[in-house]
């Protein structure tokens, strides 16, 4: 297994760098949101955001073990779900800023959480896109044999 992971990493280093960054960012989202998510606009934490961020990070980690491109895409989809859930949770806050009524501005906490969530999703996607096809390669090897 270890050898498989090493080989996989070696062949798809760039992809796993992206996925690795995505995992870290997704975990940062969990911690950041948990720590700063309670605001004047939202008195409660929405667990869906943490759960989906954590699952996307977990699935990203699983991709290190199995090496399937689809798994990375799955991490992206879940990351997208977490990101959109965060936007929905903060929609009144965002709307308040864009309507410019109360002079409210984007806080560093919001910007950090928003950016991490968005980037986690993007890194998962890019990681999936740049990964080489395993099944095709396996098929070619099987043919050659």
């Amino acid at each position: 297994m270890f050898a498989f992971i090493l080989k996989n990493l070696k062949e798809n280093l760039l992809s796993y760098i992206f996925v690795g960054i995505g995992i870290v960012l997704a975990l940062v989202v969990c911690f950041l949101y948990q720590a700063t998510g309670v605001t004047a606009f939202n008195p409660k934490i929405n667990p869906i955001i943490i759960v989906f961020s954590a699952i996307s990070a977990g699935i990203g980690a699983i991709s290190f073990l199995c090496g399937f491109k689809t798994v990375k895409y799955l991490a992206f989809v879940l990351g997208l779900f977490a990101f959109l859930s965060y936007v929905r949770e903060e929609i009144t806050y965002i709307a308040n800023i864009f309507t410019g009524i109360d002079g409210t501005t984007f806080t560093p906490e919001f910007i950090a959480t928003f950016a991490c969530s968005l980037l986690a999703m993007v890194f998962f996607l890019v990681g999936a896109i740049v990964q080489k096809e395993i099944l095709g390669k396996k098929k070619e090897i099987a043919k050659e044999n």
Binding site: A40, D102, G103, A142
Partner: protein, 969 residues
């Protein structure tokens, strides 16, 4: 297909479809959350009426008068123009500089000339695109095109005011920039017209620091404005310009000290406010003399905008802000800025002219402890001031006493050379007695108690004007001893005056005190003597004798609040001006009791002795059957209302109460149609005519009750044309100080003037079936930190100044407004909507309010301090936010809360049935059913489509992987 390609294909399709599914699910959720806003924005119909068998029945309960777009547009345009014609105030007119002769050649100065203020931002914003510019509007004159182009496209075009970094800035062009256009001045030299504009808007107050105007204060002159005015003065002296005219295009009072400077010599000054859509034409009407100005100031215009107690407190606070964080706010890290800020209304009843005139009177009467006070150094133009092109002579002033009111008659004659109207103002001086000094009852030296406007009087014409004053207006609120309204023994002087100061001088003169007012006339004073102290006549509700009027707001007066701890503030008192005029900030700290009171989600009682309401029963009633008519009266207490309410489900009630964002939702079980409600103090949002009206201060300055009622009708016609049956207005918060950011939506510093304006507008609007939401109930007099800021004030100010316009608006014997919008702020520690003293004891019991209360925009605060549980439990009926059928599920089992919900629904249904044109076209046999809107159907389709696609592609991906693995194996 190649298995590898097949995997790639299905995987790509899966990722794309799953991504779109996520967007459809969550984006659709956001859309559903905001369905009321979407329906409003796209003018989506949310229900259909299935007609029954009542054909031929007249179901047009409220009738529109202007049914064609052209007629409506003409009507709204003419009303806006009339408001501006009658509302603009001629402050000065030296040597008869105005009117200008038709055909005069004039030069327009100031960036405001090309970027006029037509409206403001926030809830009063309207579509100002395509509104006529000043140059075009001034068709009676030849306007300097070179100078116009200088501002539009030339060297002056880069200078525009704005709000960078949330600070209002003027950025006026320096005199040096005019070098290329100076040669044009001599050709357009009959008058230099300088347009001085200032902005205002919702959400923040006028900048008192950090602006580029003098002293960092946006309401002072910009240095370049001063320089231009100086240079124009020099050019006038050298003969280049014949005269200088100043147009104050600002909804708030600019500090006018510069009008008295030796090096600025302005001949005429007009306050024109924000202009609305056709107000610019009115400027031409007045400048050319087609219309003689007849507006009277609805606010005192000052030489020092920080001179009043309220503004002085503002200037003493850190950052010259109206509010402060509590001194120990850092000890409460769990509190956010909706919980840890406060403001103290140190002025007591002495708002605006009530302060300046009273301290002046005390000075003239040599009262003790008046201190150093120079009226002329503070006041530029008093409340009620306003010149005309003609002169009026008052005579024959008489008072008639009746059982519950007085009638005053005065003959008004036009003795000048122009046809004009005159606003006749009647002021009252109540006796300030030893009882008052002992018990802390404050009395202003004059207060406006009645006004009327004459018809258009030609030279030599005379009109006898009758003014009515209710005896109730003699009352004062004694919050400390009698704890109710009292009428004290003594002389009550009524005086006609050309303004508040002149009326006071008339009273002083009648009492033997000589003033330097050359217009003084002691024969315009009448006196009523009250023989004995009366503590009973006004100690009960005028609407319901069983309701005793006594202190309700001790919790909002920090000196009386039981949890005050060491906190104490000083309110201004005429008994000791020196000792009570603000000298430092009032610093307050949070106490343990305050901490508890500030927190939201207060515990509910389980039961209030009532039974759990019934839901979902079938009594066969429809809302329209409970509409009261002359033939079949149905009172609010009619038992059939309970049967109707039994028909509603809990979910329907929850949706009706919580989903009130610019609408009230339809209720299928009782056949209640949805209503559309919109912003509209200065014009209906989404108007088909794009009609917008001048700032409300200009409305008030008309002193014309008939015109104000017509404005109400006009707003209603404009609203009905686009299916709107409720307007979030009028705004009757107070011009406490010149810096309130939303002053353009409010009428005046004077509660009586404001009250009458609101009453008349409400009567006009509601006569057409458009419900007025009088706002913001209460004390939302400032904007910065408005969310949750604690307002601390004493009960006399609360009742006589802050609440009076609301009282008049709601009382069934006055405005009879059927809805109100509550405010973002707190009074004391409690959010206004969560104060049963305010929402139930005063609003409903004392005043007999039969309508419902909606919150201000709840979406951003509904989960924090504007909570459902706190508001509904204390008399709030509707939330201006996105709600749902499940929003109140947490309280399903609570009998007390369930009955409060039922009461809220009862109020909304009662108002809709009886006073809303939304019921037009609906008869008893009709059924109202919800329909799936096009956008909802689209979301459902997208969700199903992408769900199926994602599922299908996932299966196909699995199959493809299986096949390729099989092949490899």
């Amino acid at each position: 297909m190649n298995p590898v390609k097949s995997v790639k294909l299905w995987r790509s399709l899966f990722v794309v479809s799953a991504s779109f599914l996520a967007v459809a699910l969550i984006g659709g959720g956001i859309a559903y959350d905001q369905s009321a806003a979407i329906n409003s924005a796209f003018k989506v119909k949310t229900y259909e009426v299935i007609k029954g068998d009542d054909e031929g029945e007249d179901t047009e309960y409220f009738k529109r008068q202007y049914t064609t777009p052209e007629a409506l547009k003409e009507y709204t345009d003419s009303i806006c123009r009339s408001l501006e014609q009658e509302g603009m105030v001629l402050l000065k007119n030296d040597n008869g500089a105005l009117p200008l002769a038709e055909g005069n050649k004039i030069s327009l100065f100031g960036q405001g000339s090309v970027s006029l203020n037509y409206g403001a931002t926030g809830s009063s914003s309207t579509d100002t695109s395509g509104i006529i510019d000043l140059k075009t509007a001034l068709s009676s004159f030849e306007v300097n095109p070179t100078l116009w182009d200088f501002y539009q496209t030339g060297a002056g075009s880069g200078y525009r005011r704005g709000k960078p970094g949330l600070i209002y800035k003027m950025n006026e062009a320096p005199w040096s920039a005019y070098s290329g256009v100076m040669s044009s001045f001599s050709q357009y030299n009959d008058a230099a017209v300088f347009v001085l504009s200032r902005d205002s808007g919702e959400g923040m107050d006028i900048s008192t620091i950090g602006s580029d105007c003098e002293g960092g204060n946006y309401l002072n002159l910009h240095p370049n404005e001063r320089e231009v005015l100086k240079q124009l003065t020099a050019l006038k002296a050298s003969g280049t310009f014949g005269k200088i005219v100043l147009l104050l295009n600002t909804p708030v009072p600019v500090q006018l000290d510069f009008l008295f400077d030796a090096d600025i010599n302005i001949d005429s000054a007009l306050w024109i406010g924000n202009l609305g859509s056709t107000g610019a034409y009115a400027i031409d009407d007045v400048l050319s003399g087609k219309v003689s100005p007849s507006g009277k100031l609805s606010d005192t215009f000052l030489k020092d905008n920080f001179a009043s107690p309220a503004a002085a407190t503002w200037s003493l606070n850190k950052d010259k802000s109206f509010s402060l964080p509590y001194a120990n706010a850092a000890d409460y890290p769990g509190f956010n800025n909706t919980q840890n800020t406060y403001a103290v209304y140190t002025e007591g009843i002495y708002v605006g002219y009530r302060y300046f005139e009273t301290r002046y009177a005390d000075k003239m009467m040599d009262s003790p402890r008046v201190g150093d006070f120079d009226y002329d150094a503070k006041v530029a133009y008093p409340f009620g001031h306003g010149l005309s092109y003609t002169d009026f002579f008052y005579s024959g002033f008489e008072m008639e006493e009746h059982e519950d009111h007085f009638l005053f008659h005065v003959d008004v004659m036009n003795i000048g050379g122009y046809k004009s109207k005159e606003a006749v103002q009647l002021y009252l001086q109540k006796p300030y007695t030893d009882y008052d000094r002992e018990h802390g009852v404050e009395k202003a030296a004059v207060e406006l108690v009645a006004f009327e406007k004459t018809g258009l009087l030609d030279t030599g014409d005379m009109e006898t004007v009758t003014l009515r004053v209710e005896k109730e207006q003699l009352r004062s609120y004694d919050a400390n001893f009698a704890k109710t309204y009292i009428v004290e023994e003594g002389d009550y002087h009524f005086a006609i005056g050309t303004n508040a100061h002149n009326a006071l001088n008339n009273i002083l003169d009648a009492n033997g005190i000589v003033t330097d007012d050359y217009l003084v006339d002691p024969f315009l004073v009448a006196t009523y003597h009250q023989d004995a102290m009366d503590k009973t006549t006004y100690s009960h509700s005028p609407i319901n004798e069983d309701v005793e009027i006594t202190n309700q707001f001790d919790f909002a007066d920090i000196n009386k609040y039981e949890g005050r701890g060491e906190n104490h503030v000083t309110y201004a008192s005429r008994n000791d001006w020196e000792g009570t005029f603000p000298k430092t900030s009032e610093i307050l700290s949070i106490t343990p009791t305050m901490e508890k009171d500030i927190l939201s989600y207060k515990a509910l009682p389980e039961n209030d002795g009532k039974a759990m309401p019934a839901y979902g029963q079938d009594h066969g009633l429809s809302l329209i059957t409970l509409r009261s008519t002359a033939e079949k009266p149905v009172s609010y207490d009619d038992p059939r209302w309970q049967d109707l309410l039994d028909q509603m489900s809990f979910a329907e009630q929850a949706l009706l109460i919580t989903d009130g964002q610019h609408n009230t939702s339809l209720v299928n079980s009782v056949n209640k149609p949805a209503t559309k409600d919109e912003n509209g103090p200065n014009g209906v949002s989404g108007s088909s005519t794009k009609a917008s009206f001048p700032s409300e201060g200009i409305w008030a300055s008309t002193f014309n009750k008939e015109l104000l009622e017509e404005v109400g009708k006009c707003l209603a016609e404009d609203a009905l044309a686009v299916g709107i049956t409720g307007i979030y207005g009028p705004g009757v918060n107070l011009h406490r100080a010149p810096f309130g950011g939303r002053a353009h939506e409010y009428f005046s510093e004077d509660p009586y003037l404001m009250a009458i304006c609101s009453v008349k507008e409400t009567i006009g609007m509601q006569s057409k079936g458009v419900v007025t939401y009088v706002k913001h109930f209460v004390a939302n007099d400032e904007e910065t930190n408005r969310n949750g800021v604690s307002i601390w004030l004493n009960e006399q100010e609360m009742r006589e100044i802050v609440l009076l316009p609301f009282e008049y608006s709601f009382r069934p014997d006055m405005g009879n407004a059927h809805a109100t919008m509550t405010s973002f702020n707190r009074i004391g520690c409690l959010w206004t909507s969560a104060s049963s003293a305010l929402m139930e004891n005063v609003l409903r019991d004392e005043w007999g309010f039969d309508g419902f209360a909606i919150t201000d925009m709840a979406s951003s605060n509904a989960k924090t301090f504007m909570t459902y549980v706190d508001g509904i439990a204390n008399g709030t009926s509707l939330y201006d936010g996105a709600g749902s059928e499940k929003a109140l599920d947490d309280y399903r089992g609570n009998v007390f809360f369930a009955n409060k919900m039922r009461e809220a629904c009862h109020r909304i249904l009662y108002v809709t049935a009886n006073f809303s044109a939304a019921m037009n076209g609906i008869s008893a046999s009709d059924e109202i059913v919800p329909i799936v809107t096009w956008w909802q159907a689209t979301i459902i389709g997208l969700r199903v489509g992408f769900g199926v696609l994602a599922g299908g592609t996932l299966v196909m991906l699995g199959v493809a992987v299986f096949l390729i693995r099989k092949e490899i194996a």
